[in-house]
Amino acid sequence: MKPVNQKAWLLILPVVVCVAFSAILPLMTIVNYSVQDIISPERRVFVGTEWFASVLQDEELHNALWRQVGFSLAVLLVEIPLGILLAICMPAHGWRASAVLVVVALSLLIPWNVVGTIWQVFGRTDIGLLGATLSWMGFDYNYTGDDVDAWLTVLVMDVWHWTPLVALLCYAGLRAIPQAYYQAARIDGASRMAVFRYIELPKMRGVLMIAVLLRFMDSFMIYTEPFVLTGGGPGNATTFLSQYLTTKAVGQFDLGPAAAFSIIYFLIILLLCFILYNWIQRAGTSGAPDEENVHA
């Protein structure tokens, strides 16, 4: 029989302790809450899956979920093409490249809540550059009162904040393409469109997938910026999932339903992560490793 070395358990113990305190115990607390009705800190009643059933039938939550899905899709549809376009337009060499990189990365350095505040001021019709300009041009723009305006403002804010990330990723992907590809395309008489379609886009596939994954996950969990900018309003127009959850848990102190919903939210994200992860894995292994990149 092979001797079993029990010392290994000792070595992974620090990790187990860390993960337990950072992830497993908090999660278990939530599970604990989700099956109880907490009336006061001293009085609690076990309710089984009741909260889950009621949360799943909650009309408001459904609305928040659809708003969330719509928002994430809109974010992807705008930011990915825009990021690619930006990356292609960015200079490749010299001091201009460095300067543009810094300028493009600027918005990524701003903390979330500051971004919200910036746009809150930016969009005001009395003193904000955007709001005042739109009003002056005759648009009836009011992000605090109009659903569509609020939704669009949040979207534009996210695009402003995060398109640079997509652009930087794509830029890195573009720079990794060996010059020989462009030369061969010129020899083959390919148009600019064909170069994009047959060289740049396929070669950017890896970074684009990372960009899609990051932007989807981030936008699906968006909280701070709309919270600062619109507070979820007007009405519920910009109340996304995390916003709704926070209102329930902290605002109304409905710990049971909030915990049940947290778990469902967690499962949704886990499922989406799983799907995206597998998609990326499959796309990554369906082809032989790229020899060109080894030489480059």
């Binding site: 060996p178 061969a184 047959y198 082809g287 020899e291 030489h295």
Partner: protein, 362 residues
């Protein structure tokens, strides 16, 4: 197809002052229509720069490129109608092999049935027929490079096909085969082919005319025979041949060639006349033309043998005469003296060349 006239120089710095600033020193050369040329030289000698000037990927900083007398210096590769194959395989990942081969034709707006015919033809030539419908990205490096070659050969109306060390990534056994294929293709279609390589065997077997380059300069243009028998420059003698030419400092003295303390006699009269004009020169003789001689024979040098290598089909003798290394390729049964002994090697014969300031004295 076209004859390609070059009269250009190229520098990557704005105001070239010294020779070192040039990637390509001023040169004039004409690639004849339908010829097979090789550009041969060590890495970084300007071969690829020259090729890119021909194809139009690079605009020379001075001078002109003319195709059949027409100035095309400002034209794009597309307008020049040039095909070029690169060192590392370039395939369009998302396309099948057939689509890859058809790509240049489609960009030139060739009719679909004509495209199919050409693609079939080229695929057959390069033995790619069986993988035509597979995605190009999943193939081996060999197959990918064949696709690159195929894209270079698929248009049959091109001005010239340029190869930039196309067989670097190919397996040795396949290398031979592809080189033979290219030669066949050349003979069949009479395309102008220009082939860049740093491998002399590749250049000498492929080309009718070899352009030898060194440090941005064309040092000699000639047939493989010329380059071997009459290297015009010591660089050529050194670079071509394996091992390269032996060089010995020599001078003209008392009506004969003198190397160190040995008197070698006199070469042919007209050459002797040229040698007599100035004092010192360099004697060059290929190891293939160095032979064993009798002791104290006229035209022979006493060489202390340092090493004897059996290279299979011949014996390579390495030795030294008064501090100058000499190599000789001898038959296996030549009866070469052992290491440490003295071998008398004849270095003056009809194949001996003489150089002054690195240039051949004719």
């Amino acid at each position: 197809m076209a004859s390609i006239e070059l009269d250009l120089s190229h520098s990557y710095v704005a105001q070239p002052a010294t020779e070192d600033d040039y990637a390509l020193l001023p040169l004039q050369y004409t690639f004849r229509n339908g010829g097979a040329y090789a550009l041969l030289g060590p890495s970084g000698c300007g071969k690829t720069t020259l090729l890119n000037c021909v194809s139009g990927l690079l605009r020379p900083s001075a001078g002109h490129v003319r195709f059949d007398g027409q100035d095309v210096t400002a034209h794009t590769p597309q307008r020049r109608n040039i095909a070029q194959v690169f060192q590392f395989p370039v395939v369009y990942d998302t396309m099948t092999v057939a689509q890859n081969l058809a790509f240049p034709l489609r960009n030139w707006g060739i009719a679909p049935d004509r495209v199919r015919e050409r693609v079939g033809r080229v695929a057959e030539m390069l033995e790619l027929s069986s993988v035509l419908d597979r995605r190009a990205r999943n193939l081996s490096a060999d197959a990918k490079q064949k696709i690159s070659l195929g894209r270079g050969l698929v248009r049959n109306d091109v001005s010239a096909v340029l190869f930039d060390e196309p067989l670097t990534v190919i397996d040795p056994h396949l290398k031979w085969e592809l080189r033979r294929k290219l030669k066949e293709i050349h003979q069949e279609f009479k395309l102008t082919l220009i082939y860049v390589t740093h491998d002399q065997t590749e250049a000498l077997t492929f080309a009718d005319q070899v352009v030898v380059m060194s440090r941005g300069k064309v040092v000699q243009v000639g047939t493989p025979d010329d380059l071997f028998l009459l290297p015009g420059h010591t660089f050529v003698g050194h670079f071509i041949g394996s091992p390269g030419m032996n060089f010995l400092p020599a001078r003209w003295q008392d009506g004969g060639v003198q190397v160190g303390s040995r008197r070698l006699g006199s070469p042919a009269p007209e050459l002797a006349h040229r040698l007599a004009e100035g004092g010192a020169f360099t004697l060059g003789v290929r190891p293939e033309f160095v032979g064993l001689a009798q002791a104290e024979a006229m035209g022979a040098l006493p060489v202390s043998v340092a090493r004897l290598q059996d290279v299979g089909t011949y014996l390579l003798l390495t030795g030294a005469f008064e501090g100058h290394a000499i190599k000789a390729r001898l038959p296996l049964d030549a009866g070469a003296p052992p290491v440490g002994a003295t071998a008398w090697l004849s270095v003056l014969n009809a194949h001996t060349c003489f150089y002054r300031d690195e240039e051949l004295i004719r």
